[in-house]
Every structure is written in C-alpha cells, then in structure tokens.
C-alpha cells in the first residue's frame, strides 16, 4: 500500500439512550474508488454518515482523512476536511436559484455579486467535466429531483470535496436518471475522487462499487471487494442468516373480482399527475402485489383507495362504484364499505404516536357501535378490553393498552395497526410497506397474517418497494412506473430481472 486511505474510521461507536446505533465500526477507503455501504433500514448507515458530517458526535472512535486524524464537530469541519454529502432528502433552498444554492455558505467575501459570478464560471467548467449540466439561474422548485440531486453534487464539488458521500441516491430517481448519476460518479472516480455510496439495493452495489461494507444492527459485518462477492452472499450478510424470503402458502384460489379499477387518474395538489389512467383488478382470495421504485404513483393509488385523495375514473368494490370526489370519498366511507388500510407510513398516518394503544385501536373506527356507551359517549373500557384481546392475539409486546404508541418497537407498532385493520374482517385490505422498519421475527408473523387473511377469501392489495417481499407474498404482480401499470406477471413466471426492467419502464417492445 503506497497511498494513505482517503478515509479511515477506527472503532466508531454511537448510542442513543439504550439503542446502540453504531458499534465499533472500522473501515478504510482507498482514494479514487467507490465504496458501497449496504444494509437494511435501521442498520446504522445513516448514523455513521451523520457522524462523518458532524451532525452527531461519536461516543468513541477516530476518523482519519488522508492519514490525518481529524475531528469533525460540525458540518463546517466536515467541509474543510474535504467531505461532501448528498443527503437522501435534499438540503436545498427551494425558492433560490441553483447558483445561490451552490454559493450559500461558501461565498467569497461579504458581497454577493462577485461570489455569484465566480460560481457561474466554475459551474460551467464542472458541467463540462462531469456531465453535470444544470441551468444556473433556474429555481430549485422548478427542477425535477434528478436535477436537484445534481445541484447537491455541484454544491459538494464547489466546496472542493474529495470524498463524496451519497445516501440512498437512487431512491427517488427514474432508471434513466440513475444511469446518468452512475456515469457522473464514474467520471468523478476517474478524476480521483473518493465516493461512498450508501444503499440497500444490491444491484447498485454490484454495478458501480469497488469495495463494499455490510452493516447489520449497528455493526460492520464484513468488508469485501465487490468483484469477490455475489448478491446472494451480500444478502446473507445483510440479514444475518440465509433467508431468501419464503412464505409458506398454498396456491391461491381466486374468486370473483372484489376491487375493479378502471382508467384511474389522480392529480395531486401541486398539479402533478401521479396516477395515469390505470386499470387493475383484485379478486377474492388473492394477493396482488404492486412493485415499483418509490414515487411512481403507488402511494397515491393507496391514498385514493383509502379515501384521502380525489381522483377520476372508476373504482368498484364488489360491483358497487365508489365515490372518488364527493362527500363519500373519505376514509370513513371507505371503512364502512369494508376497505381496511395499513398505510405505508405508520408513524405519520397509521398511528397517533402520542396516543395510547387503545386510542389507536379505536382510531379510524371510533364510530363503531360496539365502542359506544350511548349516543354521546364512547365506551373507553370496551375499547381497552378489545385492544387487550387484539394485543394478545397478535403477540404485541408489551401487551399494555395504556402505553403510548411511540413506546413500542417498529414491529409492535405495525402489529397494532395490523390487528386493528385485519380484525375488522374487511372485504379488501390495502397494505403498504408492511414490513418497513420491522425486525425479522415480526416480518414472518406479519406475512403469515396476510396470507391467512387471503385464505379466508379476502382481497389484498400489497404495495412494497421490496421486490423480494412482493415475490414472496403475491399471487399476481403488477408493476408500476411513472403512474402507469407496465404489466402484470405471475410470480412463478417471472424473476427479479424481468420485474426490474419493468420497474425501470422498459417493456418488451422497447427492450
């Protein structure tokens, strides 16, 4: 080894109260390489990066940059050490121009004009060098996410970053944008920059990285050369045991169509068309999985079905048309019709985090006659009793109906939501990201519950960005891309590769 590592971490540890987010992490990254860090949600990747960027102070450990021991107490120190960060959620001022955003914090003197003029020149140069073309005078709010991400990269380069960290950069990108990003990253690597790519997508790791570290539950379980490993091996390292999600289930026996969607179009409050005229059926006794990259209209589809977004087109439930815009296009009406909904984001929507478990059990079903004492008052004792029973059946721990939702683990929170929705014996269950942020044990339990509901002859519409989950649970798979359904496949007749192409918007004809 002739060169000092561009970045070296030794024994980094960080705890939040009782939770150890990073445990004795050590890595070493050579200059001019792309290093991947892969791990599940909650594995501690983001905490580690926040430490590197001076957001958190590590409890223990040392950071070396180009062989020099470096303290990073704040973002300013990280920037001076040559670290640039592209966050998953961009840190841009929406109503500023690209130029202003790039210059912000790295101005040349107290007057603005000379700084802006200098930045404009440099931006043109960078654009040529790295395929980073952006209109410097465009306002951020007028740019698409792919462009905004380029601005973030430009910001880092403008600050002369030698080490560029990207946190889940492709989560919001279309495949074409993702490809362009990778070309940019390759150009940067060729220029000698060091890149750290944080992701939970194996494909990206295999495609672009030189070395890869795997994180699991706050620990760095392995660091290997990408060329020496395989996706299967990495997957095993990520989850800690050899589980390729398998759910025991008998073949589906689909019955009559329960949900019939025709020509459904949804325009959001910003005037962007999110769902573009889709047709889809879900039959009784069948799980239909919707695969797709996040942000391709799946969330909005669930919102429309759940009754909190308006749309045009028709949706029929057991032959009866649902109100999509009027008085009965709300969540209560949907519940009354027998649609249960486990939302994608349980902490924002599915639960009120400061409410007790029993209040959350009544939440959304608070008009249920069995929860009322009389015309005026609710029967809180009855709700508590019902909650207790649900908690026992779903093995929620601790089984305490009076505990606030925020005090349960992710898996147990999800079980509270699931118990509330499934035990309603719905005609149709909408379920989004059922196992996001949920521990392995609870995942199996949740999957079993979904299959059991299916076996009772109920219709289930599953949305997940985890392809494995879709493949394991679905009886039929629809792939969404850019608000449209690109095609339907039977799980037995397809594989990740084909689905991946569809998710990227590539249909047979084009491919």
């Amino acid at each position: 080894m002739t060169q000092a590592p561009a970045l070296e971490l030794k024994g980094i540890s960080k705890s939040f109260g009782p939770v150890q987010a990073n445990k004795d992490i050590s890595i070493s990254v050579q200059p001019g390489t792309v290093h991947g860090i892969i791990g599940e949600n909650g594995a501690g990747k983001s905490t580690l990066m926040s430490i590197l960027y001076g957001f958190y102070k590590a409890d223990a450990g040392e950071i070396f940059i180009s062989g020099q021991k470096t303290q990073i107490p704040d973002s300013q120190a990280a920037i001076s050490a040559g670290i640039g960060m592209v966050f998953q959620h961009f840190k841009l001022v929406e109503n500023f121009t690209v130029l202003e955003n790039v210059v912000l914090g790295a101005e040349d003197g107290a007057m603005l004009r000379p700084s802006l003029a200098k930045a404009r020149k440099l931006l043109t140069k960078l654009a040529d060098e790295y395929e980073l073309n952006v209109d410097p005078d465009a306002k951020i709010e007028d740019l698409g996410v792919g462009m905004q991400q380029r601005v973030e990269i430009l910001k880092a380069l403008y600050r002369q970053a030698d080490i560029l960290i990207l946190d889940e950069p492709t989560g919001v990108l279309t495949p074409a944008e993702a490809d362009h990003l990778f070309r940019i990253l390759e150009n940067l690597r060729a220029e000698g920059k060091t890149i750290i790519l944080i992701t939970h997508k194996l494909r990206e790791i295999m495609e672009i990285t030189d070395t890869v570290s795997v994180m699991r539950r706050g620990e760095m379980t392995a660091t290997v050369k990408t060329s020496d490993t395989s996706p299967e091996e990495l997957a095993e390292l990520m989850v800690g045991r050899k589980v390729l999600l398998r759910v025991d289930k008998k073949p589906a026996e689909p019955g009559v169509p329960v949900l019939e969607i025709a020509n459904l179009t949804m325009v959001d409050s910003d005037g962007v068309t999110r769902v573009k005229g889709i047709d889809l059926n879900v039959r009784a006794g069948e799980v239909v999985g919707i695969a797709g990259v996040a942000g391709n209209g799946q969330s909005e589809l669930l919102e429309v079905l759940g009754g909190y977004a308006t749309a045009t087109g028709t949706i029929r439930l057991n032959g009866e048309e649902l109100d999509l815009t009027g008085k009965h296009s709300d969540g209560q009406s949907r519940r009354n019709k027998g649609i249960a909904h486990v939302p994608e984001d349980r902490q924002r929507e599915g639960l009120i985090m400061d409410f007790s478990a029993w209040e959350n059990t009544a939440f959304g079903y608070h008009h249920d006659p069995k929860y009322q004492r009389n015309a005026l008052f609710m029967d809180n004792a009855a709700i508590k009793k019902d909650t207790q029973e649900k908690m026992d059946r779903f093995d929620v721990r601790p089984p305490d109906p009076n505990l606030a939702a925020k005090n349960f683990s992710g898996g147990n929170q999800q079980k509270i939501v699931l118990a509330r929705e499934i035990e309603r014996n719905p005609e149709l269950l909408l379920i989004g990201q059922p196992t996001r942020g949920v521990d392995i044990g609870a995942i199996e339990f949740i999957h079993q519950q979904i299959v059991a509901l299916r076996d009772q002859g109920k219709a289930i519409l599953l949305v997940s960005v985890e392809l494995e989950e879709i493949l394991a649970l679905s009886d039929r798979i629809a792939v969404m891309f850019d608000g449209q359904i690109m095609g339907e496949r039977m799980p037995a007749d397809t594989d990740e590769k084909e689905l991946g192409l569809l998710m990227a918007g590539v249909t047979e004809g084009a491919a």
């Binding site: 969540g331 209560q332 984001d345 924002r348 929507e349 639960l351 939440f363 608070h366 609710m378 809180n380």
Partner: protein, 364 residues
Amino acid sequence: MEKMPKWADVVLVPIISLLLAAILSAIVIAAIGESPWAALKLMVEGSLGSTYGWGYTLYYATNFMFTGLAVAVAFHARMFNIGGEGQAALGGLGVALVCMFIPFPHWSIALLVAAIAAGLFGAVWAAIPAYLQARRGSHIVITTIMFNFIASALLNFLLIGALKPKGSMEPATGKFPETTHLPTLHDILGVIGIPFSKAAPVNVSFIIAILACVVVWALIWKTRLGLEIRSYGESEPGAKYAGISPFKIIMISMFISGGLAGMMAINNVMGEAERLVLNSVEGAGFIGIAVALMGRSHPFGVFLAAILFGFLYQGGAELALWTSIPRELIIVIQALVILFTGALDNMVRTPLEAVFLSLRKKGA
C-alpha cells in the same frame, strides 16, 4: 421508553415553571422597593382572607375558566386562538342585545338565552378566522389578532353610536332590566344559610363555568368528536387517513373555542356590570392563554389555573390599593407564566428529564 413519568410531566413541570415565575416576580417586587413576603401576605389576605376577597377571586376565576377552556380546546386541535379577547367582546355584545331588547320574565330564562347568544356571537367571531384557515390557509394566529382589533373597533363604534342611551356621554349601554340580573353567590348560598359577602360580584356564572369545565373534559376525553379533535391536533396526515375531515375539525373546534370565550360575557357583562361598557373584557381573553398553558390544556388544570389567576388578580388589586405596587404586576406575572410554561417549556423539561433518566439508571 418514556423519558420521565407522566405525573412529572403533568404536575412537576408546571409547578417548577410557576415557581420560576414566582421567584422572578419576587425579584421584581423587591427591585421596586417593596417586600415580596409582605406583598404575598397582603395578596393572600385580600383575596382569600374574607368571603369578599373570595367573591372577587372566584369572579375573576370564572372569566378565566371560560377563556382558558377556549384556548385549551383550540390547543387540542393544534390551533392557537389568540382571539379570545375579541370573541369575549362579541359575546358581550350578544348578551347586551338580548338583555336590552328581549323582555325576560325571569333571570333563569334570561341567563339561558344570554348564554346562547354570547356563545353564538363569540363562536361566529372565531368561525371567520377558522374558515379562512381551513379554506384559504390564512394563519389563524394572525387573523385572530386582527379580529381582536376589529372587534374592539366594532364595539367602539356601537357603544359610541347605536347602543348608547340618548343623552349619555359615556360609551356604554344603559343598565339591563331588573329581570336579567343574575343571583350572586351571596343570594345562592343565602338559601342554604351560608353567609357570603353581598358586595362581591361572583354569581351563578361561576357554577356554569365549572359545568363548562366538566363538559369540555367529557367532550375531549370521552367522545368521538374529542378523539377526532385530538387526532387532528396530533397529526394531520393521520387524521386524513382515519377519515377525519380537517375542515370540519378546524371549524368545530374553533366554533367551540369562540363560543366558550364568548360565554364569559354572562359573568362580566350580565353578572357583574349589568350593562355593556367599553373594553369590558379587560384582558381576560389573553389571560386564558396563560391559564390554558399552565393547566396543560386539561379542563381540571384550567380550573385550578383559573383560580390561581383569580387569586393573582384580586390579590393584585389589593396590592394596588394598599401599596405602591400597581396592578400591572399581575400582567408581569402572567407574562412570566406564559413564558415559562409555554415558550421556555424545554428549559424546565430537559434538565428534569435528565434527572429522571439518571435516577432510573441508578435504580436499574
């Protein structure tokens, strides 16, 4: 895991905040050359030492219960209603109109109708900013402030013009008819033979205010609407998911809030002044903010905090009478309470949480 037990959050934090406010107030009193201890004694004697004192304390407390509940209900829907002052002023207008223009056979009917009128006037005055918030996104804090000023101008206009008796120079209505006069606590307790000061203004509205506390408690914690209001207050996306209409909750909670603030008028306008004067609310709408913060938006807390502020108000009046400390001391104390229980909450809470965390570690 909870950072500290619930009782500490509900009881300890407000008490420490109150203590801090008290200590600072004592320093202020000392700084203007009076003895804080003597001042406290005088306040306690003046407000709690006689039925006369109690009569005023509870009279003020009645006002503050209504306005405190008003702010608390809106807080549950995560809305900050600074408009209690204007809503109470409009409530006064409602009371004055029915008392002046409807001939009532008996005070009980007058009270019922006046309470409804007061509530309705206050509610409508709150409903306009609520509508603008719900439909047009106009920030309710700013609009309710503006509506306070507009209310003040409106009452000014009416009391100098249409509502003023002919020949009077004073901007006020004439005296309400005898049949609208409410029984005082002296009258009520007299029935069961308990002597109570005749001069004190506390009246039957005090009982209505206590009833209002109970009703609000039941509404917030025992009904579906209460659950919906609290859900919306905690999380708007959550409420939408559960099929709770934000528009409905904003309108209803502000309607109730304004109604409660307006109902204060049965106490000060109908019960005490027996006519509508200029600036009849005298800042009670703003004290409601301090009361709701202090009482943690819980009706029982509001009840206690209202009595505390009633005590401060009456005690402050006594101070102004017997010492060189002006009544404005109460406004300072009120400001400090709002500051510590509202804005500097984390200053008290964070160290307290740390203490409980370290206690638990030792225990474990």
